[in-house]
Symmetry: C2
Subunit: 162 residues, 2 copies
């Protein structure tokens, strides 16, 4: 068996602290929760890797959905009642429970990043931080499929009931 | 010891096939390589999770940098000579060698996604696919730090030498 098929093992580089104790209270996406604050605690042995991160307004956090218990290949997105394939939605019940959030970087203090626009549950293990680079990560012509039909109401994660 | 501090184990859900045999020939970022094509092979047991993905114009691939050998907390980005913390750049020598690319989705045939705007090395193990959702993933006011000073020349990954 090819070694690429083997298990891949990672180790958390930090912990994400927020006010959201569980999935029921966390915002659906951080962009709808401008005031939702949090702290990224990078373990001291990795703190040197944060050098110059303060020049970015936003960072991408990659983390482990630690409360996810198993996966489902077909599931409902948070904002809709229709079922879709798990790779077509952002639900946490994924074969590899890896989460991705773009958050706003407010301040860096040593190994702590103060962030906002956070949709992450308290205690989430952090796997990686990447700078958010509009030149790399924006796609002006992107179509978002079924999500185009959503009518968002404000910034609190509320949505039109259907 | 808290279980969050433990090792986290994932298993590839597929393989990314491209024409790039190694790091020297792969584009620096897919957005600079509009014509670079590739195929995402999702293993058959996960293919049901692709349902409805064809309505998205772009997807986010999360993958394992399988050629990365160890990490460096301070490194040079691909486009510059100055050193930065690894979490301020997109280099592959990360504590957890997890890669992230936004690619354009051209066609879906069963468990195969035909993609372009690809910057990924052939044979890369795939960890997750997420829909690229402009409402979630764009940040109109994002500043990209030291990258603002780059002057890109066309779409081929060439850059101003400094």
């Amino acid at each position: 068996m090819n070694k690429n098929m083997d298990e891949l093992t990672y180790r958390p580089i930090g912990i994400i602290h927020t006010g959201f104790r569980d999935k029921k209270v966390a915002p659906i996406q951080g962009v709808f929760a401008k005031d939702a604050k949090g702290e990224v605690e990078v373990f001291p042995e990795y703190a040197d890797g944060l050098r110059d991160i303060e020049v970015f307004s936003h960072v991408i956090l990659i983390y482990h959905f630690h409360l996810s218990d198993g996966y489902s290949l077909i599931s409902k997105p948070f904002l809709k009642d229709e079922q879709h394939g798990i790779f077509s939605i952002r639900h946490f019940k994924r074969p590899n429970p890896i989460g991705l959030s773009v958050v706003k970087l407010k301040e860096v203090r040593g190994n702590i990043l103060e962030i906002c626009e956070v949709d992450i549950i308290d205690g989430t293990p952090l796997l990686d931080i990447k700078p958010f680079v509009p030149q790399f990560d924006h796609r002006d012509n992107a179509r978002s499929g079924w999500l185009n039909s959503l009518e968002y109401e404000g910034e609190s994660g509320k949505h039109r009931s259907e």
